[in-house]
Symmetry: D2
Subunit: 156 residues, 4 copies
């Protein structure tokens, strides 16, 4: 019998991050993102969170495909999503992504998916990645230096 993964039910105050540390990635709800209810299917957001993360890294000079080619992967090990209100077919929104901290090779990201005018919150989420040696399938002892440098710039 395994222990449970608790749901994200404790709301914690934000440590007032500076607005400029959020990476903004625009999305649009296309037909293939929707389900029978005419809104974005709840799993579609997981793809958007990933896209925002990859594009944030690209904006810092880290090509995710290069990282993979170098033998380093960054699989998701934890994911928590809270759905506040639905995004409907055709709506535009902004995925705001922020790398919050880095403990060794564990990297935490926070997300808020908002309306373009920032007056509606659709989804808030957290994702944890771990750096893995692709060949050995093992967790790395440390991040590749180029990644660590770029990410350190991101967190300050």
């Amino acid at each position: 019998m395994y222990p449970d993964v608790p749901l994200p039910n404790a709301i914690q105050p934000l440590p007032t991050p500076l607005i400029d540390r959020w990476f903004e990635y625009p999305i649009r709800v296309q037909p293939h993102h929707t389900d029978y209810a005419g809104v974005a299917w709840h799993g579609s957001y997981v793809a958007w969170l990933e896209e925002a993360r990859v594009e944030c890294l690209r904006s810092l000079g880290i090509e995710f495909a290069d990282l993979v080619a170098m033998g380093c992967d960054l699989p998701v090990v934890e994911l928590a999503v809270r759905y506040h209100r639905p995004l409907r077919l055709g709506m535009a929104a902004i995925v705001r992504a922020q790398m919050r901290d880095m403990k060794g090779v564990r990297i935490h990201w926070h997300y808020q998916i908002q309306s373009p005018a920032a007056d509606e919150l659709y989804v808030s989420a957290q994702v944890t990645l771990v750096a893995v040696d692709r060949e050995k399938g093992r967790i790395l002892r440390q991040l590749p230096p180029a990644v660590k440098d770029a990410l350190t710039r991101l967190t300050r």
Copy 2:
């Protein structure tokens, strides 16, 4: 600025559920589920969790499509997933789903994705659904009686 959704980091003891209350749904990692790493992409699991939930309801006599046709929807409002080890291309696994509790119109499900022999745990997850009036887009005051009866059978 919005509050954060915390990650599922507190491990809580299980209230010793009876094994027979887990619904078991077999899956297989097909090529379209995989990503560049040769393992199931982390978002593919969200679809499997949903399939297991729908099939569990069907096993209780609740056709999800009928519920939707009646004007009731059960959107996911919270989702937490922990990825313990990857499922590779071609592997078979079992999604074990358990409705854990029902507070008014909020329904909590727990999940464990295991190897067929139950000796490996790949993913543990929790999902919360809320019953919604499709027409009005509002949370229902109470579950439709047929659903409530079927789910009560499931939790006791």
Copy 3:
């Protein structure tokens, strides 16, 4: 026993379309688009074709979501894709979409997915849509006037 759908095996010459009638939609191969081979999964292209089509319509003043809200749908009734060479993780490409003709309520689109420098062809495709009355589930006798006008502008 049903008749077969033949594969797209006859190569026909292009009637020299003017370059400016192709709508260009940029894409990027994200991790969730890839499969075990490290390249875009063949079904991912179907989503990109749809996105390009929707964005082409938007560029003409047709919001697809508005069309749906008005009771008109444009389901795909035929799809043919030829995969020339793979798009790999992280690669950027351009989906070029062209509405080729409109026979009553049947609308044909041609596609070419190319490298940004237009020196590599990854995919060529054709899609046929039919205008349907959503309420009745029946094929419409004619396109809604606003759609017909916008599309006529597109074809000439």
Copy 4:
């Protein structure tokens, strides 16, 4: 300027295949397969075609993952789908898959997605695969012997 991929518009007579050579793979339209219209999104069928193909090979003793591990891939190079009528949320159907011929390393599959009672046709499709050396990214000169033997049994 590239040549067009023609749509599957020529209907050809079937060479009376024996019924027992169709592999049958049951599917169910889950919420994640649907789009805003409450029916299976047209791209969802591409995943089902692939699943039926992989399971048909498994029924013949070919594990697709083993093939990949041996360095052989079978990417889709051509795909044609005709959508006859929609599959709605919750509906069950049967994907009937038939390997129709094998020209060197090109393998053609035909498909029909039918109602369980075989009285409704939802989709007909064709897919062509080519055997590729994963390491070199080149088309193989011949199929791996184990695959060829198994597939020859399939075509008689």
